[in-house]
Each structure stands twice: as structure tokens, then as C-alpha cells.
């Protein structure tokens, strides 16, 4: 069960990080614009914050070594999944969009 929470945190963390890059954001939303610096930083900081939370959660739950093993393994899996989604089904991620300027 706790592994599921870690996976969800990693998932949202990586999605936010990937969308903080204009390249992926535009592909997901079919746009051709530059992300505003504000959104970019909101995405990026919250993305890293979620990753950090998941790693701390893992270490707390399973101890330092095992926590890190679980985190790296799960991170690899989720990053792979998001790469696949971004390449073949990018609009799946369109539920996250920037605030209107």
C-alpha cells in the first residue's frame, strides 16, 4: 500500500517536471508558445518537492538502503512510463495546465 503512495508521488513529481519544459508542455496541449517563467518555476519546484517527499517517505518506511533501492527502482519505472506517454499519448497529461495569464 505504501509503495502505491510512493508511486503516485513519483508520478505527479515527474509529470510536473516534464511539463516544466516547453517542448513537452506544447506537445501535451497542442500549443506553440513559451511557458511563462512563473508557471515554469511553479511546475519545477512542485515537481522536485514531490520527488523529495517520496524519497523521504521511502527512507522513513524502509530504512536508508532499502528505501533508496525502492525509490530508484520505482523512479525508473515511472520515468519510463511517462516517456512512453509523452511520445505516444501526450494528451493524457493535458489535465495539468498552466494558469491563464
Amino acid at each position: 500500500m505504501s509503495i502505491l503512495i510512493e508511486l503516485i508521488l513519483l508520478m505527479f513529481g515527474f509529470i510536473l517536471l516534464s511539463l516544466s519544459l516547453s517542448r513537452h508542455y506544447n506537445k501535451v496541449h497542442n500549443k506553440h508558445s513559451q511557458l511563462s517563467t512563473r508557471t515554469l518555476w511553479i511546475f519545477r519546484v512542485s515537481g522536485y518537492a514531490l520527488l523529495l517527499t517520496s524519497i523521504i517517505l521511502g527512507i522513513n518506511l524502509w530504512g536508508l538502503t532499502l528505501g533508496l533501492v525502492y525509490w530508484f527502482a520505482s523512479a525508473m519505472l515511472i520515468a519510463l512510463l511517462i516517456t512512453l506517454i509523452l511520445s505516444f499519448k501526450p494528451h493524457w497529461l493535458s489535465f495539468i495546465s498552466a494558469f491563464k495569464k
Binding site: F14, A79, S87
Partner: protein, 535 residues
């Protein structure tokens, strides 16, 4: 030398990767199968009866001890293995000491206990999961020492490849999630980056720890320098380096009643929450006779160590080893356990497996990139050229290895049961299949080689569960009924891999046919004909 740093690193990355690429691919794939060695072993020994209900531990151990007394009365060392999640059966093993008069070599024997009847059964002779994963560091046919040194060298170059790869990859963060399909060489580079960067922590760990694991061999001259040459001197080094911190205590147990039964009673009280995995008797009949109890319990990634019971100056003494005394040995242990992943549950085990495959994919795409880049630089001339020979051999190896592994499984089921050297023949089948697919690939155009080999691989994986159904009494439905999860998991995995290869074949089929490339051997023939015509 190349003038700029990144360029020279690029050069190093290219040639280090290419020169040992095929060997590294072999190491990655066969090593990855090692994460499921027990599961493979169970499939390759269909005679084993698994324990599908709660057993009466005392009764089973008594039956096992009885069998051991019958089968190996003179053995000085034996083990009883109790059911665990990855080995759900009872096994007994004993050491046959060498006997020069009767021409018997020192060897280990193994039987499987039927918990219903109490009989000890033998399984078919098979090389099993162990031989398969051992190939990734002994390379099987060559002398052991040469295998160790060659794999160590490949590992060292892999590490160089990883470090230089990180240096030359300029946009490691920006391209973290990037895959651009259908862009030719760009797509291959993207895949290569994804396979390398996403599991990078795994790659670094597995490569570095791989180097450490064989350091006793590659760095043996360092030990020679300090301790002297020869096995006995090296033993001194290992005894010192791998010293355990031990805790000893005497317990209230009369020495007259010191036996397996009383020991197990004491274990049951002292270690209430621990499940026993192995029970061993060491140095039977000597003064130092002792029982070893191994628990099926991990703390983090370390196995909770063993407990030893023995008689010491008329008292029963128990001894537990907590951890290694030296910090170097502790670090070695850490990396060894990370490398082997014995602690991993089913989730992490599959991710280990996936990471290993991604590593193999990284090497394979690296070689494909090497070939593609050279083909762009020197457009194909019609003559036989080295690059296209390499391209064909490469296809034969990339697809040939999965074919070889499947052939290994097929051989296990189809080779006659009583053939001499059966286990060895399984391995021969492995390498024959690999060689055959390389030759096959050389005979066809690249596109046809990819397609035919992929379809063939899909077919032999998809039919493996069928072979299992026909040649043994096991099948997918029965495995569910008997809750034989390892057998079921293996059959389903084979179906899954078969589907993956079929999908790969469909994808290759969909891609547009590039400029027609003619098969090399045909080329060779025309060339010979031309020469003949000239003469």
C-alpha cells in the same frame, strides 16, 4: 589525440562500447536471468513436488533427517531446505567426501522430499538456472580464470562507457523524457539515452559492484604482495578481511541431549518470529560438530545471519554473527547484496529484471548506432564491406541470445532423460542456437533477418508452455489448481515474452523498407562468380 575534451570522451565512449559491446550484451542478458534463477530452476526440474499447504515442520524435518541417514550415512555435512516463497519445496543436500579407493570425487548431492510420502526424489539432470546465470561471469567454455578476467575487463570498460556517456550527453535533464519516433538515427540515439539515463543508478551500481565482486581475482597481485602467493596465503587474507563480529553465549541445555530436535526446540523459543530457511549439520562426527540454522529474514538488504549450536567445553554454546568487523568488508557486502538482489520481493525483483534488460538494450542500441553512423558516412557500396558484416552478426547476436535461452529451455524438455552429460548438452544447445542464428542472419538481407528472427523467437517463446504441457504433467490450469505459482509464472512470462517479440516483429514490418540491402553471403557468391568470370 583529439583536441577537445568532449570529443575525446566521445571517441572513448564509442570505441570502448563497441569493442566489448557483444560481450557486454551477453553479460547483461544472462546476468539478468539470474534474478529469476530459482524460478527457472523450478521449471527445469518438473519432477519436484511443491508444498501447497501448511506443513508440520517437525515431521518434515524428521523425515528429511531419516532420508539423509539412509542416503548419506557417512556424509560430514548436510542441509535441509524448508519451503520458502522462491523455493516452495523441501530439499536435502549432502556432501559426498572424496574417496580415492572407490574413485569418488568430492561432490554435493541434492534430493527433493515429497512431504506426503516422506520419500526423497531425484529431479532430471539439468544445468538449471544456476548455470545460465553463471555464464555471465565464467563465459562457460573458456577456463574459469580467463572468464573472470575477461568479464572484469568488460565491466571496467562498461564503467568507462557509463562515465564518458554522462560527460558527452549534453542535455541530460532537458532530454530526460524525450523520445522522438520515426526520425532515423535521432530516434536510435533517443532510445539509447532513455535506456541509459533512466536506469543510470542501476547501471552504475551493477557495473561497479560487478567489478568489486571479482576484485579478489583481478587484484590478486595486491594480496600476493602482502600475504604471499598461493591459495593458503590468500585464505589468510580472506579470513582477516571478512572477519565477522560474533556473539557467543552458553545456554541451559544438557550436552547429553544435544541433538537436532533439542536444537530446534530452542530455536523455536529463542527466535519466535523467525522462519527457518535452512538447517545444516557441519563437520558431523568431529569434535567441532555443529548445527547451523539459517533464517528466511532480511533486515534492509542484508540477510539476518545464521545461528550456530555446538558443544564447547561441556556446555552448549550458541553463536550468532552480526556483521562484518572491517568497514571495507561491510561496503563489499553492501554492494554484493545490491548486485545479487537476493533481498528483493517480487516487485523489486521484476524491476531489477527490467533494469537488466534496459542495460542490454542500452548496449544493443549503442552498437546499432555505431553501425548506422558509419553507414551514413560511407554510403553503401555494393561490395562486401566490414560494416555490413558487423551489422548482420549484430542482428544474429541481439536476437540470437533470446533464441539461445529459449533453446536451453526447449532442450531441457526434449533431450532424452537418460542421455549422458545431459546438463552439458542443454548448454551446448544454447550456444548452437546462437551460432545458428548468426549464420542465418548472415544469409539474409538485414530487414529479412530482423523479421524472420523476430517471428521465430516469438514462436519458440509462445510454444514453450505448450511443450511443458505435452512433455510433463504440468500446465497452466493445473498450476493454478495446485497453486504452483513458480511454474505458472514461468509459463505466463514465456507467453508474455513471445507476445513482445511478435509485437516487435509487427513494428519492424510496418517501418518502410529502406534501400534494399542484399545478403552478404549472396554478395560473396556474386563476388566469387565475378572473380571466376575474370579468370
Amino acid at each position: 589525440m583529439k583536441p577537445r575534451f568532449r570529443q575525446s570522451m566521445n571517441w572513448l565512449h564509442t570505441w570502448v562500447g563497441f569493442s566489448f559491446g557483444w560481450l557486454l550484451y551477453f553479460i547483461f542478458i544472462t546476468g539478468t536471468t539470474g534474478y529469476f534463477d530459482s524460478e527457472i530452476d523450478r521449471w527445469m526440474k518438473p519432477e519436484i513436488t511443491v508444498v501447497d499447504q501448511v506443513i508440520n515442520q517437525d515431521k518434515v524435518i524428521a523425515a528429511a533427517e531419516l532420508q539423509l541417514k539412509k542416503l548419506a550415512p557417512e556424509s560430514t555435512q548436510w542441509y535441509i531446505g524448508l519451503p520458502a516463497s522462491r523455493t516452495p519445496f523441501v530439499q536435502i543436500q549432502w556432501l559426498q567426501s572424496a574417496d580415492v579407493e572407490k574413485n569418488i570425487l568430492r561432490s554435493w548431492h541434492k534430493r527433493y522430499l515429497d512431504t506426503q510420502t516422506g520419500e526423497a526424489n531425484d529431479a532430471r539432470k539439468t544445468a538449471g538456472g544456476e548455470t545460465l546465470y553463471r555464464m555471465h561471469y565464467n563465459l562457460h567454455y573458456i577456463p574459469q580464470l580467463a572468464g573472470y578476467i575477461l568479464t572484469s575487463l568488460a565491466t571496467m570498460l562498461m564503467l568507462i562507457g557509463l562515465v564518458t556517456g554522462v560527460i558527452i550527453h549534453k542535455k541530460i535533464f532537458i532530454e530526460f523524457f524525450t523520445f522522438r519516433a520515426k526520425k532515423g538515427i535521432r530516434s536510435w540515439l533517443d532510445i539509447h539515452n532513455i535506456f541509459s539515463v533512466l536506469p543510470l543508478p542501476f547501471h552504475l551500481m551493477i557495473t561497479y559492484s560487478g567489478l568489486l565482486l571479482l576484485m579478489g581475482i583481478t587484484m590478486s597481485s595486491v594480496i600476493d604482495f602482502r600475504y604471499g602467493e598461493g591459495q593458503q596465503n590468500h585464505r589468510k587474507f580472506y579470513n582477516e578481511a571478512k572477519l565477522d563480529i560474533k556473539e557467543q553465549q552458553y545456554i541451559d541445555l544438557p550436552t547429553e541431549s544435544f541433538s537436532l530436535k533439542t536444537v530446534l526446540n530452542d530455536v523455536a523459543i529463542r527466535y519466535k518470529n523467525h522462519k527457518i530457511n535452512y538447517i545444516g549439520l557441519i563437520e558431523q562426527g568431529s569434535k567441532n560438530e555443529q548445527y547451523e540454522i539459517w533464517f528466511d529474514k532480511y533486515e534492509g538488504i542484508h540477510l539476518v545471519s545464521t545461528v550456530k549450536y555446538r558443544i564447547n567445553s561441556n556446555k552448549v554454546e550458541i553463536q550468532t554473527a552480526t556483521e562484518k568487523a572491517g568497514s571495507a568488508a561491510q561496503i563489499y557486502d553492501l554492494f554484493e547484496h545490491l548486485h545479487e538482489g537476493l533481498f528483493a520481493n517480487i516487485y523489486v525483483r521484476w524491476l531489477y529484471f527490467l533494469s537488466g534488460l534496459l542495460g542490454a538494450g542500452m548496449v544493443a542500441t549503442g552498437i546499432i548506432l555505431w553501425i548506422k553512423k558509419r553507414q551514413i558516412n560511407n554510403p553503401k557500396n555494393k561490395q562486401l564491406n566490414v560494416i555490413s558484416v558487423i551489422e548482420h552478426i549484430n542482428i544474429g547476436i541481439i536476437i540470437g541470445l533470446p533464441i539461445a535461452i529459449a533453446s536451453y529451455f526447449w532442450a531441457n524438455r526434449l533431450l532424452p532423460i537418460d542421455i549422458t552429460d545431459r546438463a552439458n548438452w542443454e548448454v551446448h544447445c544454447f550456444f548452437i542456437a546462437m551460432l545458428a542464428s548468426i549464420i542465418f542472419s548472415l544469409c539474409l538481407s538485414t530487414r529479412k533477418a530482423w523479421l524472420n528472427l523476430l517471428w521465430f523467437t516469438a514462436m519458440i517463446y509462445l510454444t514453450l508452455p505448450l511443450v511443458n504441457l505435452v512433455t510433463t504433467e504440468h500446465n497452466i490450469l493445473l498450476s493454478i489448481q495446485k497453486s504452483d505459482w513458480l511454474m505458472l509464472g514461468f509459463d505466463l512470462s514465456m507467453l508474455f515474452f513471445g507476445i513482445c517479440f511478435a509485437m516487435a516483429a509487427i513494428i519492424v514490418n510496418k517501418t518502410k523498407e529502406q534501400k534494399k540491402s542484399t545478403p552478404i553471403l549472396a554478395n560473396l557468391n556474386t563476388k566469387k562468380k565475378l572473380k571466376a568470370a575474370v579468370h
